[in-house]
């Protein structure tokens, strides 16, 4: 090694040495600080817990501080001490001098990081409760968090490289190391905040991506170092206005570089894409040409509202992140959704009902925000828009929440309405009342169907039975005046496959009851316009497993009730076509669980679609909208031809 490099390394080490020793001393005494701090806060001291939090303490506090100290000392000390002129007038290139300075600063920092990790590991190995006395084993402490990648990558980028690089940058033109360190820390914090903000604001990230975050921080750190090198090599004697100008150019290099590095990465990897999205809350718009849905990542993160065209022409994002649970108004003019977006695109502690046109325009709040707790709005039930499109109701915990145009929210507790828990079925035909039915798993006191008028605050009992409500397919309710209620029998079988019940139709206007089946195993049903025709499943065979269902249709005007076909499996859902001459069946049963969707025609003919597809509704006269991998990443949509049984995939 040339003697000049050796001499420079020696000098730099001598200058960084105090920082290294200080850092190691702080690391060694850190367990004592933690113990002292914890003992003032709580009586019982858990050393094992303290040992566990130590790496986080290191990454969040000690490493950034010492990284900034190592970085700030590289050049500021030379400027402040006036030695920069001496150094730069020696016959060595500035590049070489800078590399050695920053390199030795990095070595010093690594020694501190390594030493502090060693101290953390040693503390952990001797902390009672961990049972591990092996120092090597305890070095893998991070692995037990299951966040090795996250912790390591983000720490290296955000806690070490960024503060170090920022401090180096400021040290190239600030004469006080302390100022440079402080400026470096502030800049690093600002960059971290900006990166997070960009990710959130631009809705680019479907999930927390430590790798990408580390790339961002790492790229920022390297760019800052490049800018620092630029300032150092171009900054003449590193003082005065020219240096400030050079520093400004350096800052622009950082910003420009960040943009160049970040945006393609984010664009390519982090935007929620159909292949990475799980769709839920699917709803066909009244025009029948599109679906609105909540799209989210694998674990429900980054939820947003999409509109997907059924002709295969793609999709549109109707909302940003933290906004979903869409419901389309009956006239199709508005998509109402729940938003938990804060002002900067971050998740807020409050939720707000908003409405947007199906083309994404005229996004506006429907009601004031109201606070929610964990687990955020996912615990909300579906929004139900009134027939006039001006009122929205939904259930949140044990409360009913009404939003009406131009009015404050009305929040009603179920207790006040005589329920312990209830489902919201929907609005009555005229939109004046909301129908509630007692939840089937807590209805020890029987079954109650009630109507509540949010404007007057009055409620009335529509139907009441001492018998337990077994199951009512809430999603099949339409504002057409009747509700199907399934009532259980005394001493019913605990096996849900053998459970039988009586189904009745309740007229919500006057509470009159019309028997549908005396004893059946199916509650699937659907109604035609104005509830003239009811298609329902019936499985009368006593004692046998519910492996077959008879599909029947009742005409309530003509008084006929005929069987269309008998199908295998358990029918969970029925969707009547707009012309009421076909019904799509969602079935379960057999070994596979989910069975192929069937379409039963009025003449008894049956068309079958491939397995895995679940019917959502109808588009046009004969198109069945099908979904696969519902609520799962990689949700697919197709339109099946009810006449031929052919499937045309339309999404993604």
């Amino acid at each position: 090694m040339p003697s000049m490099i050796k001499a420079l390394l020696w000098k730099e080490w001598r200058e960084q040495r105090p920082v290294v020793f200080t850092g190691l001393a702080v690391s060694v005494s850190m367990p004592l600080f933690l113990i002292a701090g914890a003992s003032t806060l709580q009586r019982r001291l858990d050393l094992a817990d303290l040992a566990d939090v130590m790496p986080l303490f290191l990454a969040a506090l000690l490493w950034p501080l010492l990284a900034a100290a190592c970085g700030a000392g590289t050049i500021s000390n030379e400027i402040g001490g006036g030695t920069i002129g001496f150094l730069l007038s020696r016959p060595a290139s500035r590049l070489r001098v800078w590399l050695i300075k920053v390199g030795m600063g990095g070595v010093a920092l690594l020694l501190i990081v390594g030493g502090s990790l060693g101290v953390a590991a040693a503390f952990r190995s001797i902390a009672p409760g961990h049972g591990s006395t092996d120092l090597v084993d305890s070095l893998t402490l991070l692995g037990e968090y299951g966040v090795v990648g996250t912790f390591t990558l983000v720490s290296v980028g955000g806690s070490i490289l960024l503060p170090f690089a920022s401090a180096v940058f400021f040290s190239t033109f600030l004469s006080r190391a302390l100022t440079a360190a402080a400026a470096g820390l502030v800049a690093a914090l600002a960059i971290i905040s900006v990166v997070f903000l960009i990710w959130s604001r631009l809705d680019l990230v479907p999930r927390f991506e430590p790798g990408l975050l580390a790339i961002e921080f790492g790229a920022a750190g390297i760019l800052i170092l490049v800018a620092a090198l630029f300032v150092f090599t171009r900054g003449e004697m590193l003082s005065g206005r020219r240096v400030l100008r050079t520093a400004l150019i350096g800052s622009l290099i950082i910003l420009g570089g960040m943009m160049i590095v970040s945006l393609p990465i984010l664009r390519a990897h982090t935007r929620l894409t159909p292949s990475a999205a799980a769709l839920s809350d699917l709803q066909i718009v009244p025009a029948g040409n599109a679906i609105v849905a909540t799209a989210s990542g694998e674990h429900g993160e980054s939820a947003q509202t999409w509109k997907i065209y059924l002709d295969g022409s793609g999709f549109e994002r109707l909302t940003g992140r933290f906004a979903g649970r869409p419901a389309v108004s009956p006239d199709g003019e508005w998509v109402v959704y729940v938003s938990q977006r804060g002002p900067m695109g971050l998740r807020s502690d409050a939720i707000q009902l908003r409405a947007v046109r199906p083309d994404g325009s005229a996004d506006h709040p429907l009601a004031p925000e109201f606070p929610v707790g964990s687990p955020y709005w996912y615990s909300l039930d579906d929004l139900i828009v009134s027939p006039d499109g001006e009122q929205v109701v939904f259930r949140y915990d044990s409360r009913l929440i009404f939003a009406m145009k131009g009015r404050p929210l009305i929040i009603k507790r179920f207790e006040d309405l005589g329920f312990r828990h209830a489902f919201v079925l929907g609005w009555t035909e005229d939109g004046s009342e909301v129908l509630l039915i007692s939840s089937y798993w807590v209805n020890e006191e029987g079954t109650t169907l009630a109507a509540f008028n949010p404007k007057s605050g009055e409620s009335r009992i529509v139907f009441r039975s001492d018998r337990k409500r077994v199951y009512t397919p809430r999603s099949r309710y339409r504002p057409d005046g009747i509700v199907l209620v399934a009532l259980g029998f005394e001493g019913e079988s605990p096996d849900p496959n053998r459970r039988r019940f009586e189904t009745i139709l309740v007229d919500v206007r006057d509470g009159t009851v019309e028997p549908l089946t005396e004893s059946s195993c199916s509650v699937a049903y659907d109604t035609s316009e104005e509830a003239r025709q009811i298609v329902y499943g019936h499985c009368p065979s006593e004692g046998a497993p519910a492996s077959e269902v008879e599909i029947r249709v009742r005409d309530r005007v003509e008084g006929t009730d005929v069987a269309l076909a008998t199908v295998e499996g358990k029918v969970w859902g029925m969707t009547l076509s707009p012309s009421a001459d076909r019904v799509a069946l969602e079935r379960f049963g057999g070994k596979a669980g989910r069975m192929a969707t069937l379409v039963v025609h009025r003449n008894g003919e049956i068309r079958s679609f491939d397995e895995g597809w679940v019917p959502l509704g109808w588009t046009g006269r004969s198109g069945v909208v099908l979904v696969a991998k519902y609520r799962d990443v990689g949700t697919r949509l197709a339109v099946g031809d009810a006449d031929t049984g052919e499937i045309r995939e339309v999404y993604p």
């Binding site: 020696w10 001598r14 001490g81 006036g82 030695t83 002129g85 007038s89 016959p91 206005r241 020219r242």
Partner: protein, 298 residues
């Protein structure tokens, strides 16, 4: 033809709106002792720092020993010994450590020469620099500037930190030492008598402008003050070539000229002067006259 040791060609240096050096052109012949004279803010240090690429020229080109000061700055500094105006060293180092640290940069470093200088200057090797006086630190700087046997020695107002004894005995000896090996010395100062004693060539800078330059003898022989006495009033207009400064009284006028020749006496007599006296000027007087006159040489 022998290459000039230092060539400064139309060099201008601006710091924002302020012009520190304006369109300076100079050549320093090899083996010469070149003194750059000027008040504070004249542009001396700016010029010297630019020669070492501590600053970069706004316009113009500078070279040392034929090497461009911007693109070949490392090579330039390798062959140059430099003593800055107000040297600052790593005060945590001992004298021995900083001399060895400095030596590592120079392939031509002569440990014997450095050792003899240290001995001659009575420098304590094991003392930290922070424990040394300013004068002692300046001596350390001299050792570091000379130990590499530089072909060009650049001294930026070096006498400011030295006591009179060192200034007189040592600095002159150092310059002589460099010259004896065919080296060139380029130094700036604001102390005229120092300059007069050691320099063989001089340039006078004032507020970034070059007022005069040439050999010391040339300047002294060609720069004169003429006292012309008139029986009547001194004429309003007196035009002389190389006129630097004019101080007018009722019956007499004092004229400082560069490029003096006896023909000027005759010209003044033709303008009505009764007597014309030619006064020799010291370097200090030349400096004062030209700086007060503020005009560049015609």
């Amino acid at each position: 033809m022998e290459t000039a040791a230092i060539v400064i060609d139309r060099f201008t240096k601006r710091f924002g709106p302020r012009t520190a050096v304006s369109d300076l052109s100079l050549e320093v012949p090899p083996g010469s002792v070149f003194g750059l004279l000027g008040q504070n803010g004249a542009g001396k240090s700016t010029t010297i720092k630019t020669l070492l690429n501590l600053l970069q020229p706004t316009t113009g080109r500078l070279s040392v020993l034929g090497l461009d000061t911007v693109t070949e700055s490392v090579a330039v500094r390798r062959r140059v010994g430099y003593l800055p105006e107000e040297p600052a060293y790593y005060d945590w180092m001992t004298v021995d450590e900083i001399v060895r640290f400095n030596a590592s940069f120079y392939p031509t470093w002569d440990p014997e020469l450095a050792g003899s200088l240290i001995k001659q200057l009575d420098l304590p090797l094991d003392r930290k620099l922070r424990a040394l006086s300013r004068g002692m630190q300046a001596k350390v700087g001299l050792v570091m500037a000379l130990g590499s046997r530089p072909e060009v020695l650049i001294l930026d107002d070096p006498t400011s930190g030295l006591d009179a004894l060192v200034r007189r005995e040592f600095l002159e000896a150092m310059i002589a030492n460099v010259q004896a090996e065919g080296g060139t010395v380029f130094f700036s100062t604001h102390l005229l008598h120092e300059m007069e004693r050691v320099a063989d060539r001089v340039a006078i800078l004032h507020k970034g402008d070059l007022l005069l330059h040439g050999t010391l003898d040339q300047l002294k022989s060609e720069t004169k003050k003429l006292r012309a006495v008139y029986p009547d009033m001194v004429p309003e207009e007196i035009v002389l070539p190389g006129l630097v400064r004019r101080v007018r009284d009722t019956h007499q006028v004092l004229l400082t000229v560069t490029g003096y020749n006896p023909g000027l006496d005759e010209e003044l007599r033709r303008s009505g002067a009764e007597t014309v006296e030619v006064i020799d000027l010291s370097l200090e007087e030349i400096f004062v006259e030209t700086v007060k006159g503020g005009t560049t040489r015609a």
